[in-house]
Symmetry: C2
Subunit: 466 residues, 2 copies
């Protein structure tokens, strides 16, 4: 495989126009750059369809950012305003063959010519949004080390940041350079999802706007929903047709739904909302209560929304292969304390540690990916927020709901079907389902289902998140 | 292996006194806790032997820290004041069988009884200081994942913090719990090195006082030297007799020397000062200049001090098996720019990223450990700051100096002997050697060599560190 050579080297080595480096230009008011909306913007409206900060379909100003290469994507205004993609096209100047590379990762190499690397698999493209944040700062190094995809899987990391975070993103890329990971063959950075998601086989969508002071959940749904609508369109236009998408940025279930609805070419089954950290925390709390090591806990489902309405299922979970309720006889604790412990874990961590739990979130993203690329152990399952399309539990269709899944290790999953749901569980699942349905009504303008109507009163964000 | 059960469980499972949990007490003015000296302390003197903040050999006050278990170590005053260990004993109440465990890691388990774990190696103890800091926050998860010591090597992490960082340390332990790493079998936290270093087979000494405003290098040498003298004594008293020690906290070469001098029972060869990040950065810069991928660069030595006087050796380094000077013909760049790029890398990263390069430092610690536990590839070597005792390069004896090393993978190393040193290299090596000798004179009160005399004028700390 020959790649272009575009950094610190003579342009004489670049032979075609597609091999040339990007010019050091930046597109101000880039319609694809974040943040999307300012609170003071007079055009802003919570439920205004596709409300945006003065979309600008040309790039009048350019400024130089030392050492920084950015792409100026220009999309027609109708693509920007349109809530749902019908016949999406990549922006006209985002030539498919161009790439944005960083430093030593622009080097020409040929994996097949080298004895050490010739038995390696084909390089895969992994796009990560929010790449300058703390979760990514843990995750990227795990991806690069081979811990996630294996020691014969070379990878390309394509990092999406915002205009504000681009300097930091360069810092991240420099640290990746200095780590000398043999499997990390390409790193590119940018602020345009139409570039960064190009040919992505995995899209790990971590970036989201944190809630500002006084911001309501409905505001958060709208602001982040717009980011994910945008990114859905970009994935639809430029990613690998079978790209697997894991949404981490909150509110992740509804963000995943919006992203999916804006990417009709990508199978709905490929979209996941991360509830794995909740699953891991639930296993740990059951282990603590039972006085066993956490590797003895299995079959842990998180049902529903990644919010305080989530339902950690102690009815079907097992400890040493036995039902939890047989091992932990303090059922009052299970019913009244267990769930709250999981919900509040992030908040307690912030209190102690002074920051959000970036490291364990990154570990749970690794777990979520591994669960899809390795066969699920016999009799066990894992939780993921997936699209409810023909589910056997009577969950309302057309939302993203966390459920028990199994995988053959091919990147795909199937729902586990033989799970018992009793009245206690059903009642709680219904509450989470109702919440997701009302979140969905709030973002109807972003999923192509008309005018949004938002009646969310309660705040059910998990404490300590972002 | 049966371990005690001391968290969230009934004390009925603990059968002997050594199995009992520590009480939730804290020893204020603990002579072993950090920070050691306040700048405003009238007892403070730069070269006063063993100057300390009012050593207190009893524990008059106790306070409760919810969920926190700390040990109160009481050592006779002469142990605290004495600069160099002669016949060190562990503090009288630090019973060898007691341990400080955290949460789910206090669980009773038996690796040999379980099918999945019975083929695993014997558990190893890894002590980490500065465990609540950012470098550790990356490193601990790498250690726990099996990436460093292998997928059949269960580990115990023993985390050393300061009184100030203990809450954060609990947060770290909680994130480790939530990560469900099967190989991570024990986690303990504490502020007393005589507890935390007990039976350590690896001691990764990351914690050091960062330089405050207006603080001179001599102050930093003294303040950090006292921490490392203390930790050397503790290692001498309670660690495994063959413990491998990697000093990361700066100034790391001289800190390693002080630590070693205070631990006469531990072989001097077991002490390392980390220069691996410099080596990695040097490889990356050579790769960038030559337009090759970094895996083509080998035989990279960093000579001397981990400071701006360090000498990245482009005379002996190779690119694709050829001498660097044959591949990179711009010798002016090699002589004038190359070293500076490595020195300034950390500073540039801080500018871009807003924080120090914790992730790549953690990666380089992993590399340093792996270089000692896996055989060095034929013909190659790695750099480490090691004790100059009978070295073949004419480096002054009795300092810690970075040199080219090889390992059979047994945790030990030998110096590489057939390295060419030309006049250019010799001249630079001499400068770094002179610096280390003057650093050594500054800390004579901490190494047992009498009264310190400090004539360091220049500041040669690497920019961007801590």
């Amino acid at each position: 495989m020959m790649l272009m050579n575009c950094y610190n080297h003579s342009p004489a080595t670049a032979t075609t126009s597609s091999d040339l480096c990007w010019k050091k230009t930046i597109c101000n008011n880039n319609p694809y750059s974040l943040p999307l909306i300012s609170r003071n913007d007079p055009h802003r409206g919570r439920h205004r369809r596709g409300a945006r900060a003065r979309p600008n379909n040309h790039c009048p100003r350019r400024r130089r950012c030392p050492g920084l290469s950015l792409v100026c994507s220009v999309a027609p205004p109708n693509q920007v305003e349109s809530p749902v993609v019908t016949s999406e096209k990549p922006p006209s100047n985002a030539t498919a063959t161009r790439r944005e590379c960083f430093g030593v990762f622009c080097t020409t190499y040929d994996l097949k010519a080298d004895e050490k690397t010739k038995s390696w698999k084909k390089l895969i493209n992994i796009s990560v949004s929010g790449a300058a944040g703390m979760i990514s700062n843990h995750l990227l190094f795990k991806l690069a080390s081979g811990e996630v995809f294996g020691l014969d899987q070379p990878i390309a990391l394509k990092l999406l940041g915002s205009e504000r975070s681009l300097q930091a993103l360069e810092g991240v890329a420099m640290e990746l350079e200095d780590s000398l990971y043999p499997l990390l063959r390409e790193v590119s950075i940018g602020i345009d999802p139409y570039e960064v998601f190009r040919d992505a086989e995995w899209a790990l969508l971590i970036g989201a706007k944190p809630r500002g002071p006084g911001m309501e959940r409905a505001d958060l749904l709208d602001i982040n929903g717009q980011i994910f609508a945008e990114q859905g369109k970009a994935l639809n236009a430029v990613a690998s047709p079978n790209v697997k998408v894991i949404v981490v940025g909150n509110p992740c279930n509804t963000n995943a739904l919006i992203c999916m609805k804006n990417a009709p070419k990508i199978p709905a089954k490929n979209f996941h909302a991360l509830t794995r950290l909740d699953e891991n925390r639930a296993k740990c709390q059951l282990a603590l209560k039972a006085g066993v090591f956490y590797d003895k806990v299995s079959n842990m489902t998180i049902w529903g929304n990644h919010s305080t309405t989530q339902v950690p299922d102690f009815l079907n979970a097992k400890i040493n292969g036995k039902p939890v309720k047989e091992v932990i006889t303090d059922h009052k604790w299970l019913e009244e304390e267990f769930t709250e412990r999981i919900q509040k874990r992030g908040g307690v961590l912030i209190q102690k540690w002074g920051r959000s739990s970036a490291a364990s979130t990154a570990v749970s993203i690794v777990d979520a990916i591994r669960s899809l690329i390795t066969p699920t152990p016999e009799g066990d399952w894992f939780s993921s927020g997936v699209y409810t399309n023909g589910n056997p539990y009577g969950i309302e269709e057309d939302i993203v709901f966390s459920m028990p899944c199994r995988s053959k290790g091919d990147g795909d999953y199937e729902l586990v079907k033989d799970v018992i749901i009793d009245d206690y569980l059903r009642q709680r699942i219904k509450k989470s389902e109702a919440e997701l349905l009302s979140e969905k009504r709030c973002v109807a303008h972003l999923t192509g289902e008309g005018v949004a109507y938002c009646d969310i009163r309660e705040d059910t964000m998990l404490p300590g998140e972002q």
